[in-house]
């Protein structure tokens, strides 16, 4: 029996029991459409995280104290914080030894309660220099930035994150007001623009001069050069010189820390690319997880196909006997039943791609609990899902088809 005849025979058999075929198909439709929709959501999340990190600027390099072994403490800010000093940071701004470095913005941190009148809020504080805002791609909404004079003078001035400002002052103008942070008085000189939706959201923080943070908030001692910093933000001259800048930083810091050839770095240099890769890796796992869950429903759909095909073989035993008696070979019967299974899963696959695609299309931008869901539809996922659904039909169709083909024609003809 040739392929065209085989297909028309299989189609007419499927058409003979439309409700059953429809329900069987539905299993595959649900499986395939959930694969498509889940993958679209997963990829969407991945792309959106990547783009948020890129918003910070891909030329940003972060240097932290600590060794490679502590790398995974990165998000926790671990490491030996005594290793990097303000002098180290200043040394990175050197046109001879570090020609690829454009901007250096050291920071250290503190935390405490900010109080204005009867309002108070917990803040995460950052001790900064004037370069911090540019390095972090932040802008001032009103008032002014922390100046280098503020740093020199260890001034008690503060720039508020938008959320902090909102909590303490509501709609009032905070500029010029005096607030208390951990019992010390600060004059508000500026408020930052809100960065809602970015990955490192500074809205709940406050910025003060790095010197003030060290001597006043953290009760540090020593000369200004020896102020310890928790990290140094470095901008490369351009995106393409990030790797060169990284080498520059490493060279300068190793010299300054008098590290021998065999000594490990006592600092960690992280580029935005590293961060993106780490996060993409995490997100990749998430996508695989979503895909697997959806894949399981496809598998269940496949089992449904097998179940129906087995019932169908039993019901059509006599038909099989008739076909065999008039000259059908075993393989003609085998191919007919496999073709039926594959046609059903292929049809279900196509419908599933359409449904999944529609869900992903209309789901893009939908908001769930205030989070915007982004979806990214990838054509190759649709083709893979379709190929998998055909494979499911083959896999789950073969066993019933083999059963059908191995029936003895005499017994099959006698079957009532």
């Amino acid at each position: 029996m040739n392929a065209a005849l085989l297909l028309s025979t299989a189609l007419s058999s499927i058409g003979a029991n439309k409700l059953r075929a429809g329900l069987t198909l539905l299993g595959i439709v649900i499986g395939v459409s959930s694969v498509i929709a889940m993958m679209a959501v997963g990829r969407g999340a991945q792309v959106s995280v990547t783009s948020r990190i890129s918003d910070l600027g891909t030329d940003l390099i972060t240097v932290r104290p600590g060794t490679q072994a502590l790398r995974f403490a990165f998000f926790g800010g671990g490491g030996n914080s005594d290793v990097l000093s303000l002098a180290d940071a200043l040394a990175l701004k050197d046109e001879v030894f570090a020609p690829d470095v454009r901007l250096v913005a050291p920071e250290n941190s503190f935390s405490g309660a900010a109080i204005f009148g009867s309002e108070n809020t917990f803040v995460s504080g950052v001790g900064v220099t004037a370069e911090y805002l540019e390095a972090r791609n932040l802008t001032i909404a009103m008032g002014r930035n922390i100046s280098n004079a503020d740093v020199q003078n260890t001034s008690n001035v503060v720039v508020l994150g938008s959320e902090t400002s909102e909590s303490l002052f509501a709609q009032r103008n905070p500029i010029g007001a005096t607030i208390k942070i951990s019992g010390r008085e600060f004059t508000v000189v500026g408020v930052m623009e809100s960065q809602e939706g970015t990955i490192f959201n500074p809205d709940g923080s406050v910025l003060i001069p790095i010197t003030t943070a060290h001597y006043r908030m953290n009760n540090g001692k020593g000369l200004i050069d020896s102020i310890s910093v928790s990290s140094i933000n470095v901008l490369a001259t351009s995106e393409s010189t990030v790797d060169d800048a990284r080498t520059d930083i490493s060279t300068v810091l190793r010299l300054r820390h008098e590290l021998g050839v065999d000594d490990e770095d006592d600092f960690l240099i992280t580029t935005q690319q590293d961060t993106i890769e780490t996060l993409e890796g995490t997100q990749g796992t998430f996508v695989i997880l979503l895909g697997s869950i959806a894949g399981i429903s496809l598998l269940v759909g496949g089992i449904g196909v097998m179940n129906i095909m087995l019932v169908s073989v039993t019901e059509r035993t006599r038909e099989i006997g008739i076909r065999r008696a008039v000259g059908a070979k075993r393989r003609d019967i085998l191919f007919q039943f496999v073709a039926e299974a594959v046609l059903m899963t292929f049809g279900g696959g196509i419908l599933g791609v359409l449904v999944g695609w529609t869900i992903a299309y209309f789901g893009n931008g939908a908001s769930v609990d205030g989070d915007i869901i982004e979806t990214v539809i990838e054509t190759h996922i649709a083709f893979i899902a379709l190929a998998v659904s055909v494979a499911v039909g083959l896999f789950f169709g073969i066993y019933p088809a083999v059963r059908a083909a191995s029936l003895n024609p005499i017994e099959a003809l006698r079957h009532e």
């Binding site: 040739n2 005849l5 006997g321 076909r323």
Partner: protein
């Protein structure tokens, strides 16, 4: 053994054919050393009580089953040791089978049912298939029923569709297993007439398994089975004449070639 060697090769030649079935621990011998020759153009009834082995014989002749031992030569080809695929080929090309319960595909039209054997033999376009199926339906007098489904036809008509299906590839041999078993007297008569006409007009070799004495009487030769053996093999000079009894071992007949 054959006195009528004027003919070419016999259509059917069975030599010491046995067929055994294992049922539980004991072996049942359904066919017990059958020797039988059927020449081209014969019209033979095979009769016998149930359990006599005639159905097993029919399955063997129809290439649905194979002998446990002995040889079965069909149109000069030994088919007793063929593979499953070769048997399917043989069924497709060498014979047509008519069943007691018609065995039509219920969802298909008469035309489509008659086309079925052509679908499995290859080499026919859709147009060729339909033309051949129409011709076969015309031959059995169902020109008005091409597009009817089995449920829309009488038993006699359904059986004639079954005969058309057996005819469609124009085989030498037509096997009919109780073709009138499910029919009333009138329809039975029509089916018998149809089979006779295929024998006399178209020269087909016809073998019919039957319980029905009337059907047997309408044939030109009657072979009786009991307990897996041939107990009687007789010729009719014509269907109205007294029955001529023959020796069991003399399986050939001169009349068959008349």
């Amino acid at each position: 053994m054959t006195t009528n060697s004027l003919n070419s090769v016999p259509v059917i030649e069975l030599t010491e054919v046995t067929r055994e079935f294992q049922i539980g621990t004991h072996v049942v011998r359904a066919l017990d050393g059958i020797n039988m020759t059927i020449e081209q153009g014969e019209m033979v009834a095979i009769i016998g009580p149930s359990g006599s082995g005639k159905s097993t014989l029919m399955n063997t002749l129809g290439c649905l089953d194979q002998p446990s031992s002995g040889s079965f030569v069909l149109n000069g080809q030994d088919v007793s040791r063929l593979s499953d695929n070769q048997l399917a080929e043989t069924r497709s090309h060498q014979l047509g089978f008519v069943f007691q319960s018609y065995n039509l595909l219920p969802r298909e039209t008469a035309l489509s049912n008659v086309e079925l054997p052509l679908k499995y033999s290859g080499g026919y376009s859709g147009k060729d298939r339909r033309a051949a199926a129409r011709k076969a339906l015309d031959r059995v007098g169902l020109s008005e029923r091409y597009d009817h489904r089995p449920m829309q036809m009488s038993g006699g008509e359904q059986q004639r569709v079954g005969i058309a299906r057996a005819l469609v590839k124009n085989p030498e041999l037509i096997l009919a297993d109780e073709p009138t078993g499910n029919l009333d007297t009138k329809s039975s008569g029509e089916v018998i007439q149809m089979l006779r006409s295929l024998n006399e007009v178209d020269g087909k070799t016809i073998v019919v398994v039957t319980h029905d004495p009337e059907v047997a009487e309408a044939m030109k030769r009657v072979i009786a089975f009991r307990d897996g053996r041939i107990v009687e093999d007789r010729l009719m000079t014509n269907s109205e004449s007294p029955i001529t009894k023959l020796n069991v071992d003399s399986s050939a007949s001169d009349e068959a070639s008349e």
